[in-house]
């Protein structure tokens, strides 16, 4: 079991470890100390915690300046305020000069933003960042993975973004083995080659359930977790796509721009397969309880199961 209350707490714990390890790791807060669970960090390391007020553009600009002077600053706040409000600072002053700035976005997807509503649900973040050169993008799937991913992006030179959630995310991985190999897709379930379920982020728990439901119905799936959206491990998963020929992508993100789009690009260019994309279907959602929201917007376990059958039917029809 995970000892973290949620993925933001896991991120804060990783920052504590990094601060102990190396003086270059600092954090910049656009009044996100409480939201990102950094109160303990700010108390223990006040000299490494830079509050700049509710001003995300300046937070990212400051991070670029710090990184240009050899520091490794983390800017952590709600994902949309980084990727939309400060998008240009991320693109022109972090990514273009390849500066060693780490961006951590909470409330990615509708699960994270849940009751706050659309202003705080960010389902475009990955698509926006994916179109910016030089960005490394990771989407961990539970708290212990966030801990491991924080360390991984910290030690990886260059601009990086990581999504975290709001505390309602399920525990999936055993905390003792927080393996997180940046840039590598990994197989979590290998029941067979009937269909491939590809996913990233906290919705992984639903995908694993869907794989069990499918198995009970005699459909043997492979589950592939693509926690690094960029650089995309297309070499690594092209073989799986070819083996099954039927793919469902599952993400808590608009189906435009994120994992579904990325996989569609690989399918189109490298590994022909039928594809069904589960995710937010290019609509603005609404407030609601986290799990109920995912169900309401067609990201439920049953939706994944039905999508798998549809992908297989499409594949078989085209044979």
């Amino acid at each position: 079991m995970s000892s973290y209350k949620g993925s933001r707490e896991a991120f804060a714990a990783a920052m504590m470890q990094l601060a102990e390890e190396d003086p270059r790791y600092v954090t910049i807060s656009p009044d996100s100390m409480k939201a990102m669970r950094m109160v303990g960090f700010a108390e223990k390391y006040p000299e490494k915690f830079f509050e700049v007020g509710i001003a995300e553009q300046n937070a990212v600009g400051c991070a670029a300046g710090m990184a240009a002077c050899g520091l490794v600053p983390f800017v952590a706040t709600y994902s949309g305020f980084i990727t939309m409000r400060a998008c240009e600072q991320v693109r022109t002053f972090v990514a273009y000069p390849q500066l060693n700035v780490k961006l951590v976005g909470a409330n990615g997807g509708i699960f994270g933003g849940e009751r706050e509503g659309v202003t705080h649900q960010f389902f475009e973040d990955l698509g926006i960042l994916r179109s910016i050169p030089e960005m490394t993008i990771v989407v961990p799937s539970d708290a212990s993975q966030v801990f491991a991913a924080t360390l991984a992006i910290a030690k990886h030179p260059g601009p990086a973004f990581m999504r975290v959630a709001s505390g309602r995310e399920a525990v999936i991985f055993d905390e003792e083995i927080p393996v997180f190999e940046l840039g590598k897709a990994r197989k979590l379930v290998t029941y067979g080659n009937d269909v491939t379920l590809m996913t990233c982020g906290f919705i992984l728990s639903r995908v694993l359930k869907a794989a069990e439901v499918l198995k009970a119905e005699g459909i043997n799936a492979t589950v592939l977790e693509v926690h690094t959206l960029k650089p995309l491990d297309s070499e690594g998963f092209a073989a799986v796509l070819k083996a099954t020929g039927a793919v469902v992508t599952v993400e808590d993100h608009n189906v435009i721009g994120g994992l579904g789009s990325a996989v569609a690009e690989v399918i189109a260019e490298q590994a022909p397969a039928s594809l069904v994309r589960i995710g937010l279907q290019d609509v603005f959602p609404e407030s609601g309880a986290a799990e109920a929201l995912l169900d309401a917007y067609k990201m439920g376990v049953d939706d994944i199961v039905q999508a798998a059958k549809l992908a297989m039917a499409k594949r078989d029809k085209s044979k």
């Binding site: 600092v26 000299e47 490494k48 830079f50 509050e51 700049v52 007020g53 001003a55 553009q57 300046n58 600009g61 400051c62 991070a63 670029a64 300046g65 710090m66 990184a67 240009a68 002077c69 050899g70 520091l71 600053p73 240009e88 600072q89 022109t92 002053f93 273009y96 000069p97 390849q98």
Partner: protein, 276 residues
């Protein structure tokens, strides 16, 4: 006039020549915004800043950000004349394969400390550099040149607040107050005025100078360096196109290439084509 002062004034003249020559030869670029800050650039690059052109990434160096990045021909000229790269590179401005991008790029040009050109952002990045200096216990200063038009960007004031909160007395920001922006007079385009009082209200240490008077520029920088506990703003009144009379009265020189005759005229005024 001291020898030092007249030397700097002459350096500013040379930079102006280089700007006109660069834009003329490259057949592209922004001449008049570069000319308005030529004296400040000369003061910083030839006297004030601790730099080592042989070691552009020297950690103890003073940092410089040209927030009004479109004025880069004057900074490129200063870098070339300080020996970061050859003067022969200048006509390559904006052309494929050149180390001189249309707007400054820290990865391509030796001596450029920060990528810039998207307006309003330089001061924010400068706050980060000044914060880093404090954190790393280094005594370098960070100098930023902003245009007056870009003060209309919201991030400028976000950064202004952060700089005061963190007592960044190692941050010295110039506003090249030439009064004009792409679309016309700064005072007509937005409700920015009054500029000086705004910075005072943001609790910065403020000075107002003639941005073409080398003595005033140096004195203001010295006073800013001596100011403790606060970031410094130097509002420099300037003339867009300063030094080339036909540019001083015509805002179309914001981005325009001189004809052969215009080039010749400018070179004669700025010291002749055979100078140096």
């Amino acid at each position: 006039m001291s020898c030092e002062l007249s030397n700097l004034i002459d350096k500013a003249r040379l930079l102006r020549r280089d700007v006109v020559e660069t834009v003329y030869r490259a057949k592209d670029g922004h001449p008049s915004p570069a000319l308005s800050c030529a004296d400040i650039v000369a003061a910083l690059f030839f006297q004030v800043m601790k730099l080592d052109p042989q070691n552009p990434k020297w950690e103890e160096r003073d940092r410089f950000i040209l927030s009004k990045g479109h004025a880069c021909p004057v900074v490129y000229a200063a870098l070339a004349r300080r020996g970061y790269f050859s003067l022969d590179e200048l006509p390559g401005l904006r052309s494929l394969g050149s180390c001189l991008q249309g707007h400054p790029c820290m990865r391509k040009t030796a001596g450029i400390d920060m990528t810039s050109g998207s307006l309003g952002n330089g001061i924010s990045v400068g706050v980060g550099m000044a914060l880093a200096a404090k954190y790393l216990k280094k005594d370098y200063n960070t100098y930023v040149i902003m245009g007056d038009g870009e003060l209309q960007e919201g991030i400028v004031w976000e950064a202004a607040m952060a700089a005061v909160k963190h007592n960044l007395d190692n941050l010295i920001v110039f506003v090249d107050n030439n009064g004009l922006q792409s679309g016309g007079k700064v005072s007509d385009v937005s409700g920015l005025m009054p500029i000086y009082e705004k910075w005072q209200a943001f609790q910065w240490h403020c000075q107002e100078i003639d941005g073409h008077n080398m003595g005033e520029i140096l004195a203001a920088i010295e006073k800013a360096q001596q100011t403790k506990g606060k970031p410094s703003l130097i509002l420099a009144h300037t003339v867009k196109g300063k030094g080339v009379p036909y540019m001083e009265t015509d805002n179309s020189w914001h981005k325009r290439v001189p004809t052969d005759a215009e080039y010749k005229e400018a070179m004669e005024i700025l010291g002749g084509m055979d100078c140096e």
